[in-house]
């Protein structure tokens, strides 16, 4: 760059980035006044700077490596994969010479299925967990606590909400193992003091442990919790 162009570029950059002193701003104005062709170049530099400011963060984002996909999102995304792309195609077609064998196996499979239909209810595995609800009251007005209990009951269509006014008592309830011989149990705890809803439990050997902050209102958060539990425990 020659000296004049170099000076113009540096001044333009400082003005565009709002880093210029009054004297530098005045220098640039004087250059623009005495060399009108520089005005177009200044406008182009402003446009380039705008693009750089908008594009550079996206480029940085492409290099990001921090953060992990939340566990609850995995199921939702895999459902999308199955719905959109289906299952991977089978590479090889069965040999026609084995058609009779295939028919024999299909017959056997049908018979087995019929037997299983009769037998399965005996060993029936639960298809939904038992939900246990608890609440730690914040010490606010009695009416608001009653409303919150009602909201919990309504969300899970249940009549029992274990209510605690002591955090230690809640902790004991929360950490005591549930009797899961008949049905897996998921505990949902609304901690009004902390302003959060905790989900704890296990479904098909997979642990559930997630905390939802009550950011907007309790009803909205409970809906998110319900969706999360449904997503985690579907089949």
């Amino acid at each position: 760059m020659n000296m004049n162009k170099e000076r113009f570029f540096d001044l333009a950059m400082k003005v565009i980035a709002r880093q210029s002193t009054d004297a530098e701003r005045a220098d640039l104005d004087a250059m623009l006044a005495s060399q009108p062709d520089l005005r177009a170049e200044f406008a182009r530099l402003e446009a380039d700077a705008r693009v750089a400011k908008d594009a550079l963060p996206l480029m940085d984002a492409m290099a990001a490596t921090a953060g992990e996909l939340p566990a609850y999102a995995r199921g939702r995304l895999q459902t999308k994969v199955r719905q959109t792309l289906g299952r991977p195609a089978v590479e090889k077609q069965p040999d026609r010479s084995f058609a009779w064998g295939l028919r024999w196996w299909l017959g056997l499979a049908a018979a087995t299925a019929a037997v299983m239909l009769l037998v399965l209810p005996i060993f029936h595995a639960p298809n939904a967990p038992m939900i246990q609800l608890a609440m730690l009251e914040s010490g606010g007005t009695r009416g608001s606590a009653t409303d919150e209990v009602a909201l919990l009951k309504q969300t899970w269509q249940t009549t029992v909400v274990h209510s605690f006014s002591d955090a230690e008592a809640l902790r004991v309830w929360e950490t005591s193992p549930a009797d899961e011989r008949k049905q897996p149990t998921i505990k949902i705890i609304y901690d009004a003091t902390a302003g959060e809803v905790r989900v704890l439990g296990r479904w098909k050997e997979k642990p559930l442990d997630k905390t939802f902050l009550v950011e907007r209102d309790l009803a909205t958060t409970l809906k998110l919790v319900k969706d999360y539990v449904a997503e985690q425990t579907k089949r």
Binding site: Q19, A49, L56, A61, M62, A64, A66, E68, R74, K80
Partner: protein, 193 residues
């Protein structure tokens, strides 16, 4: 996950390949969603990032090389976030106005609504934006990209950049100029790519 996923397996709907791809792409979509939404709709960031990955699934069969995946996911997340902000702020104002959503980094904390100018990136189609991002990454030679970021995103002065990068103050302007010229070639309106 460090290695890119197998594109063919993704296009065939292989769940294991997708599991790996989601983990690989998550930091990118989350960073873009956070960049656009965090100042205005912080509660929507995670959901938006998941939706961007869902959209990527439906577009994967049109992707030709695995290198396109990150730029495309960044582009999808960007456009979805911009649309969401437009929708929310149009509703808020009740007049259906469209507005630009980019907040200058130095003003971000004091603004409560998106700024008024449109970003030049918003008018590009998803694939076009993705292609230009990919090209920018390839063409900005080190340390041009870093110096552009130091100056425009982090607000460092020439002297501070020179000290940080261990170079003469006079070189900072040269790298800035070359970097901006590269950006103009890639993003300029007369671009034919």
């Amino acid at each position: 996950m460090v290695n890119p996923p197998d594109l063919r397996a993704l296009q065939q709907g292989d769940e294991t390949a997708w599991d790996a791809a989601f983990g690989w792409l998550w930091p990118t979509v989350f960073a873009v969603a956070q960049l656009k939404l965090h100042p205005f709709l912080p509660n929507e960031v995670e959901d938006m990032a998941i939706e961007a990955l869902e959209e990527l699934v439906s577009k994967v069969r049109s992707v030709k090389s695995v290198e396109e995946l990150k730029p495309l996911s960044a582009s999808i997340a960007h456009h979805r976030a911009v649309s969401l902000l437009r929708e929310r702020f149009a509703q808020k104002r009740g007049a259906g106005k469209t507005e630009s959503l980019d907040v200058p980094a130095d003003d971000r904390e004091t603004k409560h609504e998106p700024a008024l100018e449109d970003s030049p990136l918003d008018s590009l189609a998803e694939k076009e934006l993705a292609a230009r991002l990919q090209k920018s990454l390839a063409e900005l030679k080190p340390p041009q990209g870093e110096i552009l970021s130091d100056f425009f995103l982090h607000g460092l002065r020439y002297e501070e950049i020179a000290k940080k990068r261990g170079m003469a103050v006079g070189s900072v302007g040269v790298y800035l100029k070359r970097g901006l010229e590269a950006m103009r070639r890639i993003w300029g309106r007369d671009e034919n790519s």
